[in-house]
C-alpha cells in the first residue's frame, strides 16, 4: 500500500496502460512539453515520446474528432480536455460521433476512447469554467461516465476506462488532484458501474460522487456528533449507475439525500431520486431531497461561490430535515 495523490494515481494508471498496450496514446492541450496544465501527465512525454504523448493546438472539436476516428479503426485514445468546460465545443464529436458510431454502423465499429479532464468547480474561476458537465453527458446512451473521489478509485477506474471497448468520459476535479489516499500496490482495473459504500451508517443514505464525497464525509462527522449516523454511497460511475448498491442502502436506512455539484434541474440527482422512489418506495420514510448547486451561473466572488456550491452545512441541514420528518 502506498500513499498517492489523485493526479499521481491517474498518471500511474495511464503509464501502466500505455506500457501494456501500444494502441493507447494521450492527446490534448499542454499534455506534453508543459507536463499537463494540472501536471497529471508530468513526465509522460519523456517516457513515451512525442508519438504517444501529443500536444494539440486549441482545437477541441478537431482533436476530439481525431480521437473518435482513430478509435474507430482500432487505436485507444485518451483525449484530455484541459477542463470539461471546453468539451462544449467538442460536444458534437462526443454526442454525434463517439456515442453513435456503434449504433449507426449496426455494430460494425466500436469507439474505445477515453475523454478525461477536471470537471466541476475550481475556486473562483467564474461561470464559464465551473460547469459540472457530467449531467449533460450522463443522459446519453452509448457513453459511460465515471467520477471517482479517491486516488485508488481514480487509478482503478482509469485503467478500466482505457481497457473498455466503449467511450468513457472520465470526470476528475481540480480540487481533488492534490488529495492523498492509499493505493494498493497491485491495484488492477476496477469494474465500471460499481458504487462504493464510503461510510457505513444507519439513519440516512447520502448518495454522492467525486469531490462531494469528501463534503458528505465532513457532513457525516458533524451529524455523528448530533447522534445521526449516515451511510455514504460514492457512486464512482454515473452511467452505468449502480442502483443495486443505492437501493440496498436505502432499504437499510429508509432515507435518502443526493449530493452533487451542478444545477438541480434534472441531472444525476434527479435520476437517482427517480430510481430510488421506483425501486424502494415502500422503504422510504421521507421524501428524497437533493443538495445541489444553486440554480444560477457560478459567481466569481469567493463568498458567493461557496454559497452557491453544496457545503457540508447544507448537507447537514438537509439530512436533518429528512431524518426528523415524522418525528414531530
Amino acid at each position: 500500500m502506498r500513499t498517492l495523490r489523485y493526479r499521481e494515481a491517474l498518471r500511474e494508471a495511464m503509464i501502466e496502460e500505455m506500457e501494456r498496450d501500444d494502441r493507447v496514446f494521450l492527446m490534448g492541450e499542454e499534455v506534453g512539453h508543459y507536463q499537463g496544465a494540472y501536471k497529471v501527465s508530468e513526465g509522460m512525454l519523456e517516457r513515451f515520446g512525442a508519438k504517444r504523448v501529443i500536444d494539440t493546438p486549441i482545437a477541441e472539436c478537431g482533436f476530439a474528432g481525431i480521437g473518435v476516428g482513430a478509435a474507430m479503426v482500432g487505436l485507444r485514445p485518451i483525449i484530455e480536455f484541459m477542463t470539461w468546460n471546453f468539451s462544449a465545443v467538442a460536444f458534437d464529436q462526443i454526442l454525434n460521433g463517439a456515442a453513435k458510431i456503434r449504433q449507426m454502423s449496426g455494430g460494425q465499429f466500436s469507439c474505445p476512447i477515453v475523454f478525461r479532464g477536471p470537471n466541476g468547480s475550481a475556486r473562483q474561476v467564474g461561470s464559464q469554467h465551473s460547469h459540472s458537465m457530467e449531467h449533460f453527458y450522463a443522459t446519453v446512451p452509448g457513453l459511460k461516465v465515471v467520477a471517482p473521489s479517491t486516488p485508488a478509485d481514480a487509478k482503478g477506474l482509469m485503467k478500466a476506462a482505457i481497457r473498455d471497448d466503449d467511450p468513457v468520459l472520465f470526470m476528475e476535479s481540480e480540487t481533488l488532484y492534490s488529495v492523498k489516499g492509499e493505493v494498493p500496490d497491485d491495484l488492477d482495473a476496477l469494474e465500471l458501474g460499481k458504487a462504493r459504500v464510503a461510510r457505513q451508517g444507519a439513519h440516512c443514505t447520502i448518495v454522492t460522487y467525486s469531490r462531494m464525497t469528501h463534503v458528505a464525509l465532513e457532513a457525516a462527522t458533524a451529524l455523528a456528533s448530533d447522534g445521526i449516523d449516515v451511510e455514504i454511497v460514492d457512486l464512482r460511475s454515473l452511467r452505468p449507475l449502480d442502483e443495486e448498491t443505492v437501493v440496498r442502502s436505502v432499504k437499510k436506512t429508509h432515507r435518502c439525500v443526493v449530493v452533487h455539484e451542478g444545477w438541480p434541474y434534472g441531472g444525476v440527482g434527479a435520476e437517482v431520486a427517480d430510481r430510488v422512489q421506483r425501486l424502494a418506495f415502500d422503504y422510504l420514510d421521507a421524501p428524497i431531497l437533493r443538495v445541489a448547486q444553486l440554480d444560477v451561473p457560478m459567481p466569481y466572488n469567493a463568498r458567493l461561490e461557496q454559497e452557491v456550491l453544496p457545503q457540508a452545512e447544507r448537507v447537514v441541514a438537509t439530512v436533518k430535515r429528512v431524518v426528523t420528518r415524522g418525528r414531530g
Partner: protein, 333 residues
C-alpha cells in the same frame, strides 16, 4: 505553392476494361438511386434520402485511385461512395429499407452507410463533423505506419463550419495521409456558393494551412481518378494532405423533399448535358460497340432489381439488436 491550382497534367485514356469497371459502378449507383427514389415515393424508404445522381464520377473516380484497405469517410450523401468502395447493392438497398440485412442492420438508414470490411467509415449526418474523424483515421494509419490513405468527402457547404477548419488544420500540422475532397455541387441545400462563401474556389482554403490543392471538373471519371491519384500518392508517399475541389452538380434536389426551386430548369438541363455517366457510356460504346454496353446495362439492371427484391423480402430488425449496438460490452443502465 502557387495561388492558382497546378495546370492539368495530360491524362492517359483508360483501357476499355478499366472504363468498363468505372462505368459499371457509375451505372449501378445511378440505377440504385433511381430505384431508391421510387421506393421512397412508395413509402418503403423513410427519413431523409439525399441522392447522388449527377455526382457519380466523383465517388467512382476517387475509389479507383485507392488501394484495398484504404479508408473513406463522407457526409450523408453517401450511397455513391459506399457502392464505389465495395458495398453490395443488396446491403445498401436493404439498409435504405430499414431491414436487418442492411449494412447497418437497418439502424443507420440512408445517411449512415458503414462497411467495415471495405474501409467505409460511414456517412455522417452533421455537416463537417466527419472531417476531424477522417483526420483521426489517417492519424491512426500514420501512428501504425500501415500505409493506408483516408479520403474525406464533403460538400462545399461544409467549408464554412468550424470542424472543417480544425480537421484540416490538424491534418496539415501533423502531416496526415488524408485527401480532403470537396464535392462542390454549387448548392448547400438551397443556397448557392455565391451567397455562402467569400471566394468561389473552396480549394483556396488550403493556402492558409500550407497544404497542396487541386481543382477540376468531374465530367470525366478518368480525369477524376488521375487527378485524385496524385493527391492519394502524396498522402501515401509523403504523408501530406491535399485539399481538392471537384466541381460537380446534383441533378436532383438536396433531398427527396426539395423541389429545387432555387435553380432554373435551363441550368439543370445544361448540367445534364455534361452528365459523366453518359460521357463514360459514349466512350465505352465507341470502344466496345453499343451491344456490349447494352449487355452491361442489362447486367446492372438485374443487380439493381435483385437488390430491391432482396430488400423488400428481408426481415425487419428485432429489438434485440438495440442493446448490443449501443454498447460493445455488457451494460446495466
Amino acid at each position: 505553392m502557387s495561388d492558382s491550382p497546378p495546370p492539368s497534367p495530360p491524362v492517359p485514356p483508360p483501357t476499355p476494361e478499366h472504363l468498363t469497371a468505372l462505368y459499371r459502378q457509375m451505372r449501378l449507383i445511378r440505377r440504385l438511386e433511381e430505384e431508391a427514389a421510387r421506393a421512397y415515393a412508395q413509402g418503403k424508404i423513410g427519413g431523409f434520402l439525399h441522392l447522388y445522381i449527377g455526382q457519380e464520377a466523383v465517388a467512382v473516380g476517387a475509389c479507383a485511385a485507392l488501394r484495398p484497405g484504404d479508408y473513406v469517410v463522407t457526409t450523408y450523401r453517401d450511397h455513391g461512395i459506399a457502392i464505389a468502395k465495395g458495398m453490395s447493392a443488396r446491403a445498401m438497398m436493404a439498409e435504405l429499407f430499414g431491414k436487418s440485412t442492411g449494412c447497418s442492420q437497418g439502424l443507420g438508414g440512408s445517411m449512415h452507410m458503414f462497411d467495415a470490411k471495405n474501409g467505409m467509415l460511414g456517412g455522417h449526418g452533421i455537416v463537417g463533423a466527419h472531417i476531424p474523424l477522417a483526420a483521426g483515421a489517417a492519424f491512426a494509419s500514420k501512428y501504425r505506419g500501415d500505409g493506408r490513405v483516408t479520403l474525406c468527402l464533403y460538400g462545399e457547404g461544409a467549408v464554412s463550419i468550424g470542424a472543417f477548419h480544425e480537421g484540416l488544420s490538424l491534418a496539415a500540422l501533423w502531416k496526415l495521409p488524408v485527401v480532403f475532397i470537396c464535392e462542390n455541387n454549387e448548392y448547400s441545400m438551397g443556397t448557392p456558393l455565391s451567397r455562402s462563401m467569400s471566394v468561389e474556389d473552396t480549394s483556396l482554403k488550403a493556402l492558409g494551412y500550407g497544404v497542396e490543392r487541386d481543382r477540376f471538373f468531374a465530367d470525366d471519371v478518368n480525369v477524376v481518378e488521375h487527378r485524385l491519384r496524385a493527391a492519394v500518392d502524396r498522402a501515401r508517399e509523403l504523408s501530406q494532405p491535399t485539399v481538392v475541389e471537384v466541381r460537380t452538380y446534383r441533378f436532383r434536389g438536396h433531398s427527396m423533399s426539395d423541389p429545387a426551386r432555387y435553380r432554373t430548369a435551363m441550368e439543370v438541363e445544361g448540367h445534364k448535358e455534361r452528365d459523366p455517366l453518359f460521357r463514360a457510356r459514349h466512350e465505352l460504346a465507341v470502344a466496345l460497340g453499343e451491344p456490349a454496353v447494352d449487355a452491361l446495362d442489362a447486367d446492372v439492371e438485374a443487380e439493381v432489381l435483385d437488390a430491391v427484391k432482396f430488400a423488400e423480402e428481408s426481415p425487419e430488425p428485432d429489438a434485440s439488436v438495440l442493446a448490443p449496438t449501443t454498447y460493445t460490452g455488457p451494460f446495466a443502465a
